[in-house]
């Protein structure tokens, strides 16, 4: 066991000069810290099955659920950094867990980020019969009746909650926060049965309801106009400086040999660029947004720091619990 680490380092050194020498020799394990059949799982499985071709090896997915992705992270951190273990990170792995200090000794610098595949801005979705035709109308109504309009978010203290808090802060209104843990499915149910007045998550999550005319998007928390939903304005256009959303990043344990990282990055980039993947993303309503190995670490750290700052402010103001 102890010998293998310097040996691996040596192998990495040699093979770094002879590009793509022998990687991969074994099957690559991809840890998905969320349940089988969920959104993240679907994206990762789809792109991994396509990346197998260009990598020239097998990538198998293990769903290690629980603890808001902490459970899967523990496994990834404990794995040998040899390029044969990957993990899919989501918002919670990058922001919530380190901020709350839920996993002792963990931060994203314990991982080598390979690439970001998708990023999905949050949005406000109302049912079709809603009286609010735009974000302005919703904000105006909330000013008239503070704390009356019900907002459906996911977990308390989660990304969607933070988005809502920022909106409240910038618009000077308060909503009644109703929490629906467990992804977008219970939010959909609540929107349809009238338990909430609007839901806060990505437009992609509500794609089927929006295209069937049962729901409408009011705003997307980003600074560029969405191409898939041309009717939904970006928040910047409406005068709000809020950029929030979910994303999927692929990562390996820190100190994984560069050769393996670049081989993986290349394989995933090819899979990402393939027509099949792009078409699939459109079908399921997810936004592709590639960021390669060189840029993704900076992006993740900047995003993390910015959000930590916001969360600290909100906590100081007593708006964010714990």
């Amino acid at each position: 066991m102890h010998k293998s680490i310097p040996v691996l380092g040596l192998v990495a050194l040699i093979s770094a000069t002879a590009a793509h020498a022998d990687y991969p020799q074994r099957d690559v394990r991809m840890i998905v810290p969320w349940g089988a059949g969920g959104g993240t799982d679907g994206i990762v499985r789809k792109i991994s099955s396509l990346a197998e071709d260009s990598l020239g090896g097998t990538i198998y997915v293990e769903n290690i659920e629980g603890g808001m992705s902490a459970n899967g992270l523990v496994q990834a951190l404990g794995a040998r950094p040899d390029g044969y273990t990957l993990v899919a990170l989501t918002y919670d792995s990058v922001v919530t867990i380190p901020w709350q200090g839920m996993l002792a000794g963990y931060d994203i610098d314990k991982l080598d980020l390979v690439a970001r595949i998708t990023s999905e801005p949050d949005s406000i979705v109302v049912p079709d019969g809603s009286p609010y035709a735009s974000l302005e109308e919703l904000v105006a109504a909330a000013k008239e009746a503070p704390g009356e309009i019900r907002a459906g978010i996911q977990n308390m203290g989660s990304r969607t909650h933070l988005t809502l808090l920022q909106l409240q802060d910038q618009a000077g209104v308060t909503f009644k926060v109703v929490s629906y843990p467990g992804g977008a499915a219970p939010q959909k149910e609540a929107l349809l049965n009238g338990e909430v007045d609007f839901a806060l998550t990505s437009l992609g999550d509500f794609e089927s309801l929006i295209s069937s005319g049962d729901a409408r998007g009011l705003v997307e928390f980003t600074d560029v106009q969405s191409e898939s939903f041309p009717d939904v304005p970006p928040a910047k256009e409406l005068g709000y400086d809020i950029q929030m959303g979910s994303f999927v990043i692929l990562a390996a344990p820190a100190n994984t040999p560069d050769e393996a990282i670049s081989a993986l990055e290349q394989a995933y980039q090819q899979a990402y660029d393939s027509e099949e993947f792009q078409r699939w993303l459109v079908d399921v309503g997810v936004t592709p947004n590639w960021l390669g190995h060189d840029e993704v670490t900076d992006w993740a750290q900047t995003t993390q720091q910015a959000l930590f700052g916001r969360m600290d402010e909100l906590k100081k103001a007593g708006l964010l619990g714990q």
């Binding site: 349940g35 059949g37 290690i64 523990v74 843990p181 959909k188 049965n193 309801l209 069937s212």
Partner: protein, 504 residues
């Protein structure tokens, strides 16, 4: 008419030689995974997920339907023969089936289970095809306070149905709910009861609890009495099982009554339609209702065929019900349909309100697969393989229990990839064994564990909607309905019970 034609076309597709093998293969895998303790049909579908890339989507969906339906009824096999329910949804069947097995009526118990599964599963599939849109609208009438009251109803009823041991039932149920609170809070990122350890933060998976409570505790019971089993094996060998022993006697079927079968199927379907309940709750609610309305409630717990029929009919009807919200809104009704949703998504399909209209050609074969597997494959499997099922008990004890121990523990590992969760399985096994020795009902423990997190989530959400006022449970009609129902059950099972005893 278009709709019927589409269903017929779906049936034709299902019967094609390149699709039918997937149904049969799926059904056999589901039977195996459902029957073996430690493996569940949900795990089977999750493990087969990678295969769905290479498969045609229709074939994949048909295979899922077969696995799902088979997994719900094959749990009764091990529940009856060796008192270890292969799946949580069969725990009520173990309570009624194992006493029958000990009386030498194991084959008949399996026959009743299969008949009820057949009727319940087929009726559920018909309901799925005919009233799915109606059921979706009805499900939307039940909001969070109503769901809270429904879960509370199930938990209260399981406690009061423990006749003679109500306080022990309450202890076991509460313990189950308490165990489920370990880990990250249901609403916010706060850890509870982890005592500063990272391993407890992951929470406690259902697999170690099921394996511990049923498989390992039974191993401990069996390790205790060495001689008892060998005598029984001799009995089984002395009277060879014939196929006709599996056919339930007509008089008993009449006594159970068509109405009860239909009622349990409807209950199971309805529980399935409500997101977040699942098979064990369907089986239990139908069982309790059957007990409430029974002419012979005193037979329950001692080998009542009515109880078997109610539980097995309902859990198979649940399969079809769980597809309703998944297909019409993309809201899965139970964990297995959540994975089937993943199969659809991987194939680039997003279920939504228009999904049934636009993709009926794709979905119809799966509907028919649910129907066919219930109506034909359930009885056929029992007819062909039944004698082998019963012969499980005549396998040498050392082979039988060593295999169960290995598969249960490795199954736990495969479901969670965690050594810690395997350890928990042992711990819960020990706990469940102690509880069983002193008459604490383990079924209560499991139902408390399964439903506890939902109970807390719905309770806290309701109170956040009402700004902390518990009056919301009385002012919401849906919640009031289930509270009243709880009162009705309390009346029949606790208050009126002494009179029933005088009659008996």
């Amino acid at each position: 008419m278009d709709y019927v034609a589409e269903l017929m076309r779906g049936f034709a597709v299902l019967m094609q030689p390149d699709i039918l093998p997937y149904l049969i293969g799926g059904y056999l895998i589901g039977t195996f995974f459902g029957a073996v303790p430690g493996l569940t049909s949900m795990l089977a579908i999750a493990l087969l997920l990678p295969l769905t890339y290479s498969l045609d989507i229709t074939a994949a969906l048909v295979a899922c339907a077969g696995i799902f339906m088979a997994g719900m009824c094959s749990g009764s096999i091990t529940a009856t023969t060796i008192n270890i329910p292969g799946a949580p949804a069969s725990m009520m069947t173990a309570i009624e089936g194992y006493p029958m097995q000990q009386r030498g009526e194991g084959a008949k118990a399996l026959g009743h289970a299969a008949l009820a599964s057949m009727i319940g599963g087929a009726l559920g599939a018909v309901l799925l095809m005919v009233v799915a849109p109606l059921a979706t609208d009805a499900a939307l009438l039940i909001r969070t306070p109503g769901k809270f009251a429904l879960i509370a109803f199930a938990l209260i009823v399981i406690v009061i149905s423990q006749r003679g041991a109500i306080s022990k039932g309450l202890v076991a149920t509460t313990l189950g709910v308490m165990i489920a609170t370990v880990g990250i809070d249901v609403m916010q990122p706060v850890t509870r009861f982890t005592f500063g350890t990272a391993v407890l933060m992951q929470g406690i998976d259902i697999m170690p609890l099921v394996i511990g409570a049923f498989a390992i505790s039974e191993l401990l019971v069996q390790a205790e009495n060495k001689s008892a089993r060998t005598v029984e094996v001799a009995d089984v060998k002395a009277a060879p099982i014939r196929r006709r022993d599996f056919i339930p006697p007509w008089s008993e079927v009449r006594e159970i009554g068509l109405f009860r079968y239909v009622k349990c199927a409807v209950i199971g379907y309805a529980v399935g339609v409500l997101p977040g309940a699942g098979g064990s709750m369907a089986a239990f609610v139908a069982y309790a209702e059957s007990m409430r309305s029974s002419k012979h409630p005193e037979k329950y717990g001692k080998g009542s065929v009515e109880g078997i029929a109610a539980a097995e009919g309902a859990n198979n009807a649940m399969c079809s019900g769980a597809f309703v919200p998944m297909l019409s809104f993309g809201i899965p009704g139970d964990p297995t349909t959540a994975i089937v949703l993943g199969v659809l998504v991987i194939n680039g399909l997003q279920p939504g309100p228009q999904f049934l209209d636009s993709q009926m050609a794709l979905i119809a074969p799966m509907f028919m697969a649910l129907f066919v597997s219930a109506l034909i494959l359930v009885p056929l499997t029992l007819y062909l393989l039944g004698p082998w099922f019963v012969r499980i008990v005549s396998i040498r004890r050392d082979i039988l229990y060593a295999s169960i121990a290995v598969i249960a523990l490795v199954g736990c590992y495969v479901a969670t990839y965690s050594i810690f969760q395997m350890g928990l399985a042992l711990l819960f096994g020990l706990l469940a064994w102690l509880l069983r020795r002193h008459g604490y009902p383990v079924a209560c423990l499991l139902l408390g564990f399964v439903l506890g997190p939902s109970l807390e989530e719905y309770c806290r959400r309701s109170l956040s909607i009402s700004d902390g006022s518990p009056l919301i449970f009385l002012t919401s009609p849906d919640s009031l309905f289930f509270l009243a129902l709880t009162g009705v059950f309390y009346y029949f099972m606790v208050i009126r019970k002494p009179q029933a005893r005088q009659h008996a």
